[in-house]
Symmetry: D2
Subunit: 330 residues, 4 copies
């Protein structure tokens, strides 16, 4: 079986997914839609897909699945439209910045029986996936504590920040999903703290750029997450999982293994600087997993429920930091 | 000038300090006291000090300073007695498990003008001290985030736990001091979370064995601390400090640099397993700093105020975890 | 300009090159030849190239360049045929196992003015290429000493060994080329030593499986190379270059950055196990460099002369080990 | 039993040994001799030993053992005198720069039945000793290849070089001993190469400053040693041992585990810079082993034979490099 796919959104991440699909033997990109037709045409030229309209793709019975790579505020309605049209759906995270809207959308998904995968690409990163495999193989016994570090090289433009839903929903949401993935248990308690110390503009926009959240599961497992919008040494992405029998961790990735030594010391190159380079393999493997799940009929993961839970954690953290700010200002 | 020192308490840590003093050119151990006279005699035999009574040492005008290495509940009154007797004082942490008692004791210290150093030995660990030096040299710019990992190889006996004041006052107190040391600013906000998942006995005793605390300073700097009473791979002690210009970290120490490689992978030996081995240099350098401060007349650090602040953070964390437990049980 | 390429040889390495060409914007695979037509057909199906005969490809004026990925003993004559047919040539190493035959072949290349690149893929490995860049940037000053480690996971079949020309021409030839690449100067003195201690069969076949060579340039730079046909921990490929101002090294590559820690220690996964996985990027970048040199008219490197020099070093090392064996047996 | 020790030579290394003895429970420093009496007095003051004459020490029946830490050219005759006086002997390496003189001296040692330990301190370095333990425990199977790197931070004064016997006898002799220690088998073949590229003065003095030697045992095990008188990044001392089942290696040591990361990369501090700091533990453990062997009556190791074998390898390497130089100049 070859999965015929329609791509909605021909921006940076849409291109990445188009390329991933083009390398799969069991999928082909049939059509691509973007309001900016030139972007759609570029992908069409590279992949042999046709450029088409949104509704045309949704209504084409020959198309099995859609990849939603449009702006965030369109995700929920496009998921609903695709679900009703009987398509399998791969949607970039988040489904929506508002939890209620997500729940509404997932009701449609449930009613229609649509298959929905949410783009938490980091689960497919070979490093983090290997950490998960080691946990599942029992290598570290019962998980007791998870530590996740996630730091961006530099803050995004403040205009982006204003539309982003805030650091917890925009950036830490990946780590909330990673926490659930590695804890293997739902979170029942959330603590959070945040500051705007990297960028005054971000603070003025009401957001934070340096933050931490602590999560606890019903059985008492604890997870700490640290985020910063600044890391001069590259895109810093690490996890460390402690269990009753030991620890498993994934370190950062570099482009080369080269070290220079002199009187100043031993210097290894900075980390990869950009998330699309750092997670290049993850994006490819993610799409492979989506298509494979469709052709094999196996469970989709991470799904809409996973998308919702990560957002709920982000909402709880956002609320706690907002409350602390009010208290401080009172 | 040679500092003449009286040692109160001839247990494990007393012996460590006695040995450190014996290697200093500008100090000598004059007398040692312990209710178990055999322990005192052993140190006396090794160092040439005399065995003597507590009051006799306190009242001996030839003794310049005392090292208090007795059980915790005696620290405060012995500090007061020594302060009134005009001695300089080195006291093992904590001054007392109760903040009010510490404040009372520090009032006496202040009134008498006594010099008091509190035994936060980790400040003198060559690794952590080097991290501090790099921060002070401006290498990482303004500190933004501090991450401290501190894990014991295995839980202490539950009887010890019951008398210990709980994980935050007994174990994490070192990390609270380290946080203040590295943040370079007072903490104004404390979050904490804890579980008893390593040992049911510890949970039954009302304490936790797995915990995290998050601290925030007035300017918005954030520190996360993670603690566990279990680390199968050795005594895990790391810090990582992020600043506006970069990061400085101190990794764990090992006994050797040996690696074995085969089909299973590349294996480095576990970490040092015992805090007295791990912090051997720190204990020695700490005593050197105490004696040097006395002979040079320079500021004592860490002092009683540092002891108090760390305890206050521990009390705040303890209270928060207790409140969460009540809520959960309600 | 698009370079039209004919592929000679559709085996494992031929497929790798076909795939690399298919990803280039400035090249296309026009035709593929292999005496086993099924292998050729498979590549043709994947790339859109036609299956054709050797002479047909050589004589097709629409084909600009050939990739020679046939058995070693055919390389020299196919280079000559292609050179006379006016093709640019990419040839897998070695050109021939016999130095005289190589020199003869290179004379044809010179007379015809053909462009010839020899497949020393490791020069294009991102790690080793970065080491070279650091040297050329003057980071370590004048090169003084080079150390190259190259170990295969396990010995090849003895039948392969018998046809291979021996370890120095088959395996260490890569390192001889790397030595010249990193030394930046011709070698004037060669020492070598070898043993058959991994495999008795290899010893019985007159070859060695564990060997070292030491090289010296006219200005006194020294290079040591160690080779083994056994490395239980994976495919071990490292270089380390010492200069007047410092050292630059390239460590091995792993699939992930995952570490597991427990009472046994800290274990990182073994190395990549297979040269085609380890050097995947190198093969791709190598073909890119070949095609780019053709389209831009820039110098081809490494060229036939480089192929000859590496072989001469291998011949010298082979001779020295043979002489030592005779002496030992005498 | 307490071993009563006389120290001959109160220079830098003499002081190190005096301090090591003073920390042993089963030994005491009875007397110290040095033609520069002030140096002897300094050690005497610190240890309670008496200052005495050479013959007085040799002839004092209360002295059980001597430590010979005098200039190299006095070692052989002092060993002989001590052996005839019935003393156990610890002698700094080398016994003599001339192999014939060493053999003569060892004959006296044999005839008198004296116990002689030669100061190859590196065998006692905790890292290299652990490598040896792993080999003996069978962790890597049969040893196949040993790689030893040994680089000094900077060249010694040329006056020292002139008296030193040349790099192979002065510096690489340590590595020849380490090679024998790790190979566990005698060397039957030696290759060597050397250059003077660090220091023109050293070249003018007829010595080399950059060198490599390759050793082979009867069973075919191979060892490569690289030496340089320059390492801008510190005192570089590593070994790596490959066996039929895996590899065991010892990396360099640093003073701290601190890393700084920024846009330039991740920088760890340079290596320890001085051999007496690097091998501090080794010197202490070495003396402990000497005294323990005397009190327990167990075998002395490394002994005079080990001293001789290392020197013979150094002589062979020196001769080979000299021959190559003659050929080059011819």
């Amino acid at each position: 079986m070859t999965v015929s796919i329609g791509l909605l959104g021909a921006g940076r991440i849409g291109k990445t997914h188009a390329k991933a699909v083009s390398q799969l033997a069991n999928a082909k990109l049939a059509a691509v839609y973007d309001p900016f037709e030139d972007a759609a045409k570029e992908i069409a030229a590279q992949t042999g897909a046709r450029v088409d309209g949104l509704d045309a793709i949704m209504n084409d019975p020959a198309i099995d699945a859609v990849i939603i790579a449009t702006p965030t505020d369109l995700h929920a309605e496009q998921i609903e439209q695709a679900a009703r049209a009987g398509k399998a759906i791969f949607c970039e995270k988040p489904i929506h910045l508002d939890g209620d809207r997500v729940r509404e959308c997932l009701k449609v998904v449930e009613e229609t029986g649509a298959k929905l995968m949410v783009g938490f690409n980091r689960r497919f990163d070979p490093n983090f996936a290997e950490v998960k495999r080691q946990i599942e193989a029992g290598v570290i016994g019962d998980v007791e504590m998870v530590q996740i570090t996630s730091r961006d090289p530099s803050p995004p433009p403040v205009d982006y920040v204003k539309r982003s839903g805030g650091l917890f929903k925009d950036m830490m949401i990946h780590d909330f999903d990673m926490a659930r993935f590695l804890l293997g248990e739902e979170v029942v308690e959330v603590n959070a703290m945040g500051s705007a110390i990297v960028s005054e503009e971000i603070g003025a926009a009401g957001d934070v750029d340096t933050a931490t959240a602590t999560l606890k599961t019903a059985s008492g497992k604890i997870c700490t997450i640290t985020n910063s919008r600044r890391a001069t040494y590259g895109y810093d992405q690490r996890v460390e999982v402690h269990g009753s029998k030991g620890m498993v961790s994934a370190e950062n990735m570099r482009t080369t293994t080269v070290t220079v030594a002199n009187g100043e010391g031993y210097t290894a190159e900075p980390l990869m600087d950009f998330f699309m380079e750092r997670y290049e393999a993850a994006y490819r493997i993610e799409l492979t997993a989506f298509v494979d799940a469709l052709t094999s009929g196996s469970e989709i993961s991470p799904n809409g429920f996973d998308g919702l839970k990560a957002l709920e954690l982000a909402e709880a953290a956002t609320a706690e930091v907002a409350k602390a700010r009010e208290l401080a200002n009172a």
